[in-house]
Every structure is written in structure tokens, then in C-alpha cells.
Symmetry: C2
Subunit: 353 residues, 2 copies
């Protein structure tokens, strides 16, 4: 039984520059069938909430320039629930926009926030965890984050340090957060991995609408003020104009900096459902099915010879032959070809300029 | 002053399978701008004879299926001089066809035979050599081949062993051939390179039309018979039908086997004009201009990082970034991508199947 108060807010405004040339600012990776499964990451994200939230309670926040893409890929989402940011202001203003807008019509909403370009391998465990967390926030003022159990000393993620000494009385799987930790260096990441109370911050947040609105009022009062001014105009002809005028005045700040690192009562739900933020070609390689030589191939008719540890992503090529490569990215899209060592992928932004 | 008896026969029926995916049976390499200079190899070949032969004395022999391509690329060549083979029968029937046809209208023709997909760097020296050789064959019954001075122990070419002890009285640069040698193994090629009387067989032949017709009559009588039967019908409505009926009956045999290795009086003109048969990606790499790291790039906007000794041929890509490759072919054409070590290129036929 899906709780009718459950809402999901999907943030779909990223530009995915680290996945060039597959992902470009015109068509970032959330709008792409990255896994070669016939569905884009955004479509997969929406699907993942099928059993958690009624279809009419799904909200997409994206850039105005991606409005057409979102409508094409998600024709079932009414225009009213596609929120368009007139400019990029990071996650805090994005979440504030959605929160005030939802509050205006659904003051009892219980919300899960997620990115649009992450993947989850074990959808059933994901459902169980989110459902359990939403049950928890439906009758508490808690801010809950999902903490991914680390499987490697990843330096590309932020970490959540939990106090595992005592779980919440009403949900034994939920614990108090001691601190949020920024992306560590490798040595620090290795130390975190040795401990059992450090979790990857997956950027998935669960709270009821009053909790987040109040938190923004307390920790980001000027941002709250902006949305209080827009509040009376949501769902009217003036909303669009107000957003265009006032949204750009929001500070460019992430929800982690704006709220998480400041708030007192934050909780973490440690979980393990095969999550990846697909932030790098390396993480995509890890996620995809590999052949006997550890190659991950997405595309038609890719043949490899004496090739290992490669990711080959060539969905627009009819045919690809790769011979004698070890540890490379081969990616082709829109007549742009990239061949690059996997361990040099942090230079892709430089290459794409 | 161009001799009006001079004719050139360009053989343009090859399928260029070793240059996959750039070259395919639908569009073999002679019809492609392989060098990225704005002209196809066929167009460059025709141009090379500009000062040697009148425009109306240029003949193209090709497969019927390439007729349209030839007409498009060489609109100045009249249809009458584009000879269409109904099937592939190697070079001897191709040359026989052209020879009898030319003889029917130009019994005093003096002919140079060439492939359509080779390249010549020093066109002036080429002109000088061919002009000198044609002068020689205009008043002798000699069969002259051009012998390229070897610069490396190439195993991909046949060799001509010359008797350098005495040059011809009428042309001091022309010598008797002792033997034709098939493609050698590396050890043998190294031995040839040490000697000064072994030359690469460039497949460029010079003779007058009576000489070659008589040679075919002597050494390939059944082939001669076929063209004697067609002979009265050249330039009539019946030519096409006769060719379709009788040409396929020719033996599938190269001019080297059919004539060169059998004839007694064969001459070689050793020369050096930067010739390459562009038979392999390696030879194309050698031919093209290289950057400071020995990369040869043909295509728009190709950027390389930590990359050396590569050939990158991506004329249909808008943009290419290659990082960290040494000694590879990267080729893209018609949505087919090949990445392969240069020293494995003999497997390209296998890859392309």
C-alpha cells in the first residue's frame, strides 16, 4: 500500500561533464541510456519509485533548457510537476523550490530527494529501505540520509560518520550522524573503509515537508525568504515570472553545506543496494556487466581481441573492433570519439574543452 | 609537348579490403580521399598523368559496380573510355581488355599501365621517368617495368632483380630484368636490401600496344582469343554484350604471372619518386605527414595526448581525442570504428568479417 503522502523529488539539472563525449551539456547523462538497457537514467530513476510513491506525486526539478527532454522522456509527469530552474544554483535552492511548492498544495507531504543519474542494482532492497525511512519521517521531524556501506576506498564520494552506539527507538536501522566528511584522499578513504561507521553519502534524503522547510528557515533564512515570497503564487500564472525573477537571487550552495553540516538532528540509514552515482567512467565500468576479460561494452556489435579492463561505450556505431587495449575508455557519440586510459579520466574535462 | 600516341590505363577495380573500415567493397580506397587532401586516390592518379598524356587518352578499367563512382569522380573522362569488367579476373584480363580496345582505334598507341590507388610524392620525377620510358617503348618492342629503389626490407612487395652490368644503348637508365621475385620473408628482404639490383615491383608497366597484344598472344593464347573475338565489336552496340559474355571466361591471373615471369625481353627502369602502393595502414602512416610524436592524423580536430606512432584516420568524426596510445591504428568510417595495433594490421581482414 503506497502512502498517499509520499512524494519524490528528482533533481535532473546536472550537466554530466565527466562523461564526455557520451554526456554533453546539451544532453547530460540522466537523459541518456547509459547502461544500454533501453531506458535513460532518468526513466530508471522514476521507475525505481513505482512502489513507493503515487505517479502524481513525482516531481522533477531541472534546468529550463531540459524541459523538453524531461517531457519527452516522462510523458506521464504533468507539466505542473516539472519545476524549471532559470539558472543553476546547486542543490539547496533546487530542494527549497520543490519543498515550498509541494508544501503549498500538500502540507503533510513526506518527501524523498534523489539525483536523476544514479543507479541502484537491488531495487527491492532500495524500496524496503526508502519505505522504512519514510515511515520514520512521516511522524518525526528527522532529517534522514541514506548511507551506503563502503566497498572500496572511494575518493570520489563524501562520507557520513555515524554513531552506531545507539539506534533510534522507532527504527533500529537508523542512527545519529556524528559528522559529514568531504571527499577524502586515498589514505583517509582507506582508514574510513577499515571502520564500520563511515558510509558513502549517496545524496538521498528523506524528510517531511515541514522539517525541510523549517530547516531552511533556520539555516538559510535569506533563501527561505525568497521562497516565502514566491509561495502565494505557486500554481498561478505568476509562478513562472516570480521564479525567473527571484530564483537567481538564491545562493549557489549544496544542500550538504546549506543544511546537513549545520543541522543538529540528522540521521543515517546505512544500506546496501548496489548504489553508484555513475560519476566516472570507472564507476560505470564497475557497474556494467563485464566479459571474461573484464571489458564492459555498451553498443551494437562490439568485438574485442586481446583487450581487457576496458569500457567501450559506442551506442551510435554500427560496428566496433578493438584490438590490443588494456585499461582504456573508448567512447563515441555525436561524431566525437574519445580514447583515453581509464586512470587518466579525471582529465576528460580538459580533453573536452 | 605531350606525345599524342601516349595513353594511360588506370586499373580501378580493387576492393581495398586491407584498409577496413576506411575502405570497403562499396567504396574502395581508390575512391576515397585517403590523404585528406581534398582529392581521391583515383583523382590524384589521373592528375599525375596530366603532362604525360592527352585527356582523351586516359582509360579507366573498373568493375561495373564502380561505374557510377568513376563517372562522378572523373566527369572529364568520356564513357567510352571507362571499361567495365563484369567480374573480377585480376590484372591480366583487365590489361588485355584495355589493350585490345585501344588497339582497335589507336594501333600506334604507347601505353603506361598503373594502379589507381598508389601514391607518388615526387610527381616531377615521376613524369620524367615515365616520359623517358615511353620514349623508349615508342620505338621498341620492350616491356618496361618501373623498379622502385628499396628503402626498407619490405615484405609486402614483389621484387625485380635487374642485371645492372649493362644498360640499354638508347636509354642508360633502363636495364634487363633477370627475374621477378615474389614477396619475400623478412630475412630475404633484408638480403635484397643489401644488394643494389633488387627493386620493388610497383606494377607500373610501359609498352606499346602491339608489344603487349603480341605478348598476350604468345603467353596467354586463350585469353588473346577471347579478345580477338570481341575485337570487331569494340565501339559498337555489341561491345557490352560481348564483354559480359566472354570476359568472365578469362583466366583469373595477374599480369606478373601471365606475362612478366614468362616473357624473355623485359626491362626495368629503376627509379625513386616516393612511391607507395598504400597497401597497408603502415604504409599510409609512413606516407603521411607526422607530428612531433610520429602520429599521422587525417581528420578534423584530432587531438592527441601522450600518444605516439599512431595513425588516426577519422574523416567523418567532428572531433577526436586520443590519450595514451603507442603504435595503433584508429580508424572510423560509416559508423564503424577500428582500434588495432599497427603491428597486428594483417588481421584486419579477419576483424572485418
Amino acid at each position: 500500500m503506497i502512502q498517499s503522502n509520499n512524494h519524490v523529488v528528482i533533481m535532473a539539472g546536472g550537466i554530466g561533464s565527466r562523461f564526455w563525449p557520451m554526456s554533453t551539456e546539451c544532453l547530460p547523462k540522466q537523459f541518456i541510456d547509459v547502461l544500454g538497457c533501453g531506458k535513460t537514467l532518468l526513466q530508471l530513476t522514476v521507475e525505481r519509485f513505482r512502489n513507493l510513491c503515487l505517479p502524481d506525486n513525482i516531481w522533477i526539478v531541472t534546468s529550463a533548457k531540459y524541459a523538453k527532454l524531461v517531457k519527452e522522456q516522462l510523458p506521464e509527469i504533468s507539466e505542473e510537476r516539472i519545476l524549471l530552474e532559470p539558472c543553476r544554483r546547486n542543490t539547496a535552492p533546487c530542494i527549497a523550490y520543490a519543498s515550498w511548492k509541494i508544501k503549498a498544495k500538500y502540507p503533510k507531504a513526506n518527501i524523498v530527494i534523489t539525483a536523476s543519474d544514479h543507479i541502484v542494482m537491488d531495487v527491492y532492497e532500495f524500496e524496503r529501505v526508502v519505505e522504512s525511512a519514510m515511515k520514520f519521517t512521516s511522524d518525526s521531524d528527522a532529517i534522514v540520509t541514506l548511507g551506503m556501506k563502503a566497498t572500496r576506498p572511494e575518493t570520489g564520494y563524501g562520507y557520513i560518520e555515524a554513531d552506531l552506539s545507539m539506534s533510534c527507538p522507532t527504527n533500529k536501522e537508523i542512527f545519529r550522524v556524528d559528522a559529514f566528511r568531504e571527499k577524502p584522499d586515498l589514505e583517509t578513504a582507506k582508514r574510513y573503509l577499515m571502520k564500520n561507521n563511515y558510509f558513502w553519502n549517496a545524496g538521498i534524503f528523506i524528510w517531511n515537508v515541514s522539517t525541510i522547510v523549517n530547516a531552511i528557515r533556520v539555516y538559510q533564512p535569506s533563501m527561505a525568504e525568497i521562497f516565502e515570497r514566491i509561495f502565494p503564487h505557486f500554481y498561478t500564472d505568476k509562478e513562472d515570472e516570480m521564479i525567473k525573477e527571484l530564483f537567481p537571487m538564491c545562493e549557489n550552495i549544496s544542500i550538504d553545506y546549506a543544511i546537513m553540516e549545520k543541522a543538529e538532528e540528522i540521521y543515517v540509514f546505512p544500506a546496501s543496494f548496489g548504489w553508484s552515482d555513475l560519476g566516472t567512467w570507472g564507476s560505470l565500468h564497475e557497474t556494467l556487466e563485464k566479459d571474461a576479460h573484464n571489458n564492459a561494452c555498451v553498443g551494437d556489435n562490439i568485438r574485442t581481441y586481446e583487450t581487457r579492463n576496458c569500457i567501450i561505450h559506442t551506442t551510435q556505431e554500427h560496428r566496433v573492433v578493438v584490438q590490443g587495449l588494456d585499461g582504456y575508455i573508448v567512447a563515441e557519440k555525436n561524431d566525437i570519439l574519445l580514447i583515453c586510459r581509464l586512470n587518466e579520466e579525471q582529465r576528460i574535462r580538459e580533453f573536452s574543452e
